[in-house]
């Protein structure tokens, strides 16, 4: 393979897929795509295709995992064997364990777990097609699926990455930019700007890191608007009660367990 060949990532100031440096890939989101799940969301981010399902709050199995004062959150990130160029061996590997952990920790801060002691909120993310940025796409879809399931949250979480290619900081790197680029910084944040996911690999001067973080934030803001819109579109047309299973709106001080 010609991996050592110098690839140019820009042509006439635009990236290989025609994007500007500060542009996201096209996004498509759909809410409530699965009948059995309590909440679900399908998302495309460029060539990434992911689907997220939320089950719960429900009883914890095995029982010893349950917490007396709050719900636990579980997150399973899984790649389909056909989602990548060369077939991936099915089932969890070390990468997916780590992605699952950081993704759970990206969403947990906004979930009001104290409303549901001794229960679990299960989040399942299946990557059907991967093209760099699957963890961020998964978090975006999961956040909307949580809202779709009626899980009480402080806010949505939006996620995207910034990278460095050919010495330039770019938003939402695609596969070739991620593979051959110089750095990748995936983040997730609340609409208020609090960061709940932050990873980085590659090489950046501290000042470049700041620019990457700023750029990734602008991506998250755009994604937030899309997430909000798909939820509003989905639920503004549903009138009255009964059509969506609302979780009981308990105030925190009403809980005596």
């Amino acid at each position: 393979m010609g991996m050592e060949e110098k690839v140019s990532f820009f042509k006439d100031g635009l990236r290989l897929d025609g994007r500007r440096a500060d542009e996201l890939r096209p996004i498509k989101m759909e809410v409530g795509v699965l009948a059995r799940a309590d909440g679900s969301c399908y998302m495309e981010m460029g060539d990434n295709k992911v689907i997220a399902a939320v089950y719960g709050p429900r009883e914890v199995h095995p029982r010893h995992l349950q917490e007396a004062t709050r719900a636990i959150v579980r997150y399973r990130y899984n790649m389909a064997s056909f989602s990548v160029e060369e077939r991936k061996r099915p089932g969890p590997d070390r990468r997916s364990y780590e992605v699952s952990k950081v993704s759970r920790e990206a969403l947990e801060p906004v979930i009001l777990t104290s409303y549901f002691p001794k229960s679990v909120v299960d989040i399942f993310v299946e990557v059907l097609q991967a093209d760099a940025g699957t963890r961020t796409a998964g978090i975006n879809a999961a956040s909307v699926a949580l809202a779709d399931a009626g899980i009480p949250m402080k806010s949505l979480i939006s996620s995207c990455a910034a990278g460095k290619v050919d010495g330039e900081i770019v938003l939402d790197p695609m596969k070739i930019e991620d593979n051959l680029g110089e750095a990748d910084v995936p983040i997730a944040m609340t609409p208020g700007g609090d960061i709940t996911l932050l990873q980085m690999d590659g090489r950046l001067a501290p000042e470049e890191f700041r620019r990457a973080l700023e750029l990734a934030k602008t991506g998250c803001q755009q994604i937030y608007e899309i997430q909000r819109k798909v939820l509003v579109d989905r639920y503004s047309s549903i009138s009255g009660s009964g059509s969506c299973d609302q979780a009981p709106a308990l105030a925190e001080d009403e809980i005596h367990e």
């Binding site: 991996m3 007396a68 070390r94 364990y97 609090d194 932050l198 690999d201 590659g202 973080l213």
Partner: protein, 259 residues
């Protein structure tokens, strides 16, 4: 249940200390515990290091063996990093395959070594597409008194810097030092309300809900980061942590890793 109560009492105590600008062991917020580094304690390993960070003890062993390269990098050596949280090191560790904490630890240590380009992988090619040197970095936690990320990363680079490629053993010429090109150092801070505390001990880790590890290279670049734990980080705090991390890493590098 008692764990929950203890955690609450401890959290309250530590939290109020921090409000007064203090830590339980009297350190400044950005101060590390004493570091003690011993290289080469394991004669059977090709490189090894015992790190003591306060009372935390981590042994890192490096083994180097010939093996097959990955098909997409036929002329490059391979790095494989593992971490074992063995039950002797903490009442919270259980026997069995690595859990997500162990996997995350190994992957962050690996990220530092890999992304900094510390090991010259091309120099580890024996026959392109057929045979390369495989570098196994095994992190063995002996005593978990907090901040395993930094202790393990320091142990890994120290073990690599003193490692020998055992060529003679495989009739591949003479032994030679593993080519190391950079010195990544990991620096970890936890968030305590509005305060940021470096090199947390186990108590501090158990009450803080957010941790950020920043790995920097010898030229002051950042080559790896990992936020860990179910909490928030503000942008200001991230920048502050990166700035202090660069400084602390430079000190650690100068004191322990540069000859």
């Amino acid at each position: 249940m008692s764990d929950v109560v203890m955690a609450e009492i401890r959290k309250d105590y530590l939290y109020h200390l921090v409000l007064k600008g203090e830590r339980a062991d009297g350190r400044a917020f950005d101060e590390y515990r004493d570091i003690n580094l011993e290289t080469g304690p394991i004669r059977k390993a090709d490189g090894s290091a015992l790190v003591r960070l306060g009372k935390t003890q981590v042994m890192v062993g490096v083994k180097i063996q010939p093996g097959e390269p990955f098909s997409d990098t036929p002329n490059k050596g391979v790095i494989i990093t593992n971490a074992e949280l063995v039950p002797l090191a903490s009442p919270n560790f259980e026997p069995g395959p690595p859990n997500e904490v162990g996997i995350e630890l190994a992957r962050v240590v690996d990220r530092g070594v890999r992304e900094s380009g510390a090991i010259d992988l091309e120099a580890l090619c024996i026959a392109p597409g057929e045979k390369v040197w495989i570098v196994f970095i095994d992190v063995h936690i002996l005593d978990d008194c907090g901040n395993l990320m930094d202790a393990s990363s320091l142990g890994a680079i120290a073990a690599l810097m003193t490692a020998k490629v055992p060529a003679a053993q495989y009739n591949l010429g003479e032994d030679y030092p593993l080519p190391v090109k950079d010195i990544p150092v990991a620096t970890t801070a936890v968030e305590f309300g509005d305060a940021t505390i470096f090199d947390p001990d186990t108590d501090e880790e158990s009450v803080a809900d957010t941790k950020l590890t920043v790995i920097t290279t010898a030229d002051g670049s950042v080559c790896g980061m990992q936020k860990s734990g179910p909490g928030f980080l503000s942008q200001d705090h991230i920048y502050r942590i990166v700035d202090i991390a660069c400084e602390r890493a430079r000190e650690i590098r100068e004191k322990f890793l540069e000859v």
